[in-house]
């Protein structure tokens, strides 16, 4: 795709809508799509949803200015975590479902592109059973996470997102 046609920001959200709080990713993506359109900001973003992160998602990162991953987190700090991430890999991981860091690491290995600055919004979930609805806690966490998403998408620039991530870390970990 010509670079002029590539939206500068890609948002990759994963999760299974039929498995309880695993629906947090697709739910936030759906809300974000509607909100971006209502605000007239949709042209600046490409929103991609999937069950799981996979190798080909690395190609969705090429040519972007910023990337944001959204996922539900098990044992994640409530209501959510927001942090900058770098290319990397866990010592053992599933290739049926890559971590965001591993997706970043795959891109330069399979193309000439370098991954864009990337951030992870990980929203705390509790129940992941098949057929379960979103838990009450997850609904509340999603609302708080969406408020952050709105702020991020009003000003999609690296400095602002990095500052938000630092502020989040300082607030929750006392700057350590």
């Amino acid at each position: 795709m010509p670079s002029a046609l590539i939206a500068p920001v890609v948002v990759l959200a994963c999760g299974n809508p039929s498995r309880g709080d695993d629906a947090l990713g697709p739910l936030l993506l759906e809300r974000l799509q509607a909100w971006l359109e209502a605000e007239g900001l949709a042209d600046g973003f490409e929103l991609i949803g999937d069950f799981q992160l996979q190798i080909e998602h690395a190609l969705d990162l090429a040519g972007r200015r910023l990337a944001l991953f959204i996922d539900a987190g098990h044992a994640t700090q409530s209501p959510f975590e927001f942090r900058r991430i770098a290319a990397g890999q866990s010592t053992r991981h599933s290739t049926h479902a890559l971590s965001p860091e591993a997706v970043l690491a795959v891109l330069p290995r399979v193309s000439d592109a370098e991954p864009p600055p990337a951030f992870l919004l990980c929203v705390c979930g509790e129940h992941f059973e098949l057929g379960a609805a979103l838990s009450v806690a997850a609904q509340s966490n999603a609302a708080q996470a969406f408020a952050l998403l709105e702020r991020l998408c009003y000003a999609p620039v690296l400095a602002g997102w990095a500052e938000a991530a630092s502020a989040f870390v300082d607030m929750n970990h006392g700057g350590d």
Binding site: D50, F51, R109
Partner: protein, 489 residues
């Protein structure tokens, strides 16, 4: 009934338990438990898989037309197979046993795109780390990122093959995931000439890469026949659907089974009567059932499904490049069937080549751009849809009431068919490689290599961060944990 090493001898004492929980690089959750005696001799090996029986209840009470979309949430890797198996079953409900040519070809194209992308993912990104680096190689390198670093062209081709398959799915199903292309009675969209031209522009490269992949799998196999022909090998029956005239067919056909010597024992069996052909045994230690051919009973009637079964069960492959490779594969068996689990990889790549060739043939067919997309006939309350999914035979069975709501759903997925074969492979590997030795990560990875050859799809499509831990526990005879390894995605 019980097989060798399925249950420890009653007189065995001072056993210690080793659990690999869950198996890494396998969808969802699986667990292997090994019971070792004080001399590290293997006394019992069991592969435990959590089956997604809950989904069958989840579907009950839904309008039947929602089902082909809903069932895609079963699996994050092969949603299209569930989508199409459900649509095929519900074709019977709307009286559309014979689809229009356009609808059937569009569904086929979607399915062959699914086979191509899933096989590419499996070989290049699930199994190649083990095959290219060795089963006991450095664990930190034994993953896709390690492959990308050491073999960048192999990794790149794997990504682009998968991407092409997904593009075929996107164009036929409407979306990359949660597609709605197949509906009871047909499909809801055709391909434009521009869409066909776009795919045709890439397909020759895809075929060329698929040929290279067969050569790579074959080269690996032939470089170490002492490993590839023997590792975890066991004899069993085979089962798959076979198309018209005995051709390899992933989308439609009749059920055929062969015995371990290759003799056909069931042929031309109507899939609508699958329940007369197959029964499922329940074992108290496993959540997953053990299917077997009713006529042979549970002891002799279990069978393999998937690429290794399909490539040897058919009489021929209708595309020339894959057929030439099939013949070479059959010759490798020297008159008998190839039973080695690692040969699944070779067979899988032959199937990927066939999928690529078939996609090209279909793209030249103007029926793909036709407008006659649905049909219907006298309604029925029941239907069975069978398809060859990437991992093997997939059966969907539904009953629908007068209000069009699903009252019964029964799914037999390929991983269930392969339950006994996977257990058997794991036991062979444990006996050969683990007996009497101090356990290391590399040795335990041998168990996982055997499982990955079958590519089980477990209760899957949930992937919250931190929700897929890998834990290895070593316990002594008293049940005390004496060692633990853990990592999280």
């Amino acid at each position: 009934m019980s097989f060798e090493l399925e249950t420890a001898p009653a007189n065995a004492t001072n056993l210690r338990r080793v659990a690999i929980d869950p198996v890494s690089r396998v969808e969802g959750h699986g667990k292997v438990t090994l019971l070792l005696d004080e001399n590290d001799e293997v006394q019992q090996v069991r592969l435990h898989i959590v089956e997604f029986r809950g989904f069958e209840k989840f579907i009950q009470g839904r309008p039947y037309w929602e089902v082909p979309v809903m069932v895609q949430r079963l699996c994050g890797i092969c949603p299209v197979s569930h989508h199409l198996a459900a649509a095929k079953a519900l074709d019977w409900v709307v009286g559309a046993q014979c689809l229009t040519p356009s609808a059937e070809k569009l569904r086929r194209l979607m399915h062959y795109g699914q086979m191509l992308q899933s096989h590419a993912l499996h070989f290049f990104h699930l199994s190649s780390p083990d095959l290219l680096f060795g089963f006991e190689s450095e664990v930190g390198r034994r993953n896709i990122v390690g492959v990308a670093a050491a073999y960048p062209e192999v990794a790149r081709q794997g990504v682009l093959l998968r991407k092409f398959g997904q593009e075929v799915i996107r164009l036929t199903a409407g979306k990359r995931i949660h597609g709605t292309g197949a509906i009871p009675g047909g499909v809801n969209r055709a391909l434009s000439l521009e869409e066909r031209a776009g795919l045709l522009a890439e397909v020759d490269q895809i075929i060329a890469w698929s040929r290279d992949a067969v050569q790579l799998a074959k080269r690996l196999h032939r470089a170490e026949p002492g490993l590839y022909d023997v590792f975890g090998s066991f004899r069993s029956n085979l089962m798959s659907i076979v198309g018209a005239n005995g051709a390899l067919d992933f989308y439609d056909g009749k059920l055929r089974a062969r015995d371990a010597d290759g003799k056909i024992i069931v042929d031309g069996f109507d899939v609508q009567n699958y329940h007369a052909l197959i029964r499922e045994e329940v074992k108290p230690w496993s959540y997953m059932k053990f299917p077997f051919l009713t006529s042979l009973g549970p002891e002799a009637g279990w069978y393999k499904v998937g690429p290794l079964a399909r490539v040897q069960n058919c009489d021929f492959i209708a595309t020339p490049l894959a057929e030439a490779e099939r013949r070479e594969f059959i010759e490798h068996g020297q008159g008998g069937l190839v039973h080695a689990p690692l040969a699944y990889h070779w067979a899988r790549m032959i199937e990927m080549l066939h999928a690529a060739e078939t996609i090209k043939d279909l793209l030249h067919d103007d029926d793909l751009s036709g407008s006659d997309l649905t049909t219907s006939g006298p309604r029925s309350r029941e239907g069975v849809g069978v398809i060859e999914a990437p991992r093997g035979t997939l059966i969907h069975h539904y009953r629908v009431d007068d209000d069009d709501l699903v009252t019964m759903c029964n799914l037999i997925v390929s991983t269930t068919h392969n339950n006994q074969p996977m257990n058997e492979a794991v036991r062979r590997v444990a006996k050969r490689y683990l007996n009497g030795r101090q356990l290391t990560e590399g040795l335990l990875n041998h168990i996982e290599v055997a499982i990955r050859a079958f590519d089980p799809c477990l209760s899957c499509a949930t992937h919250a961060l931190g929700k897929m831990p890998l834990q290895l526990e070593l316990q002594d005879a008293a049940g005390q944990v004496v060692g633990r390894l853990s990592s999280r995605v």
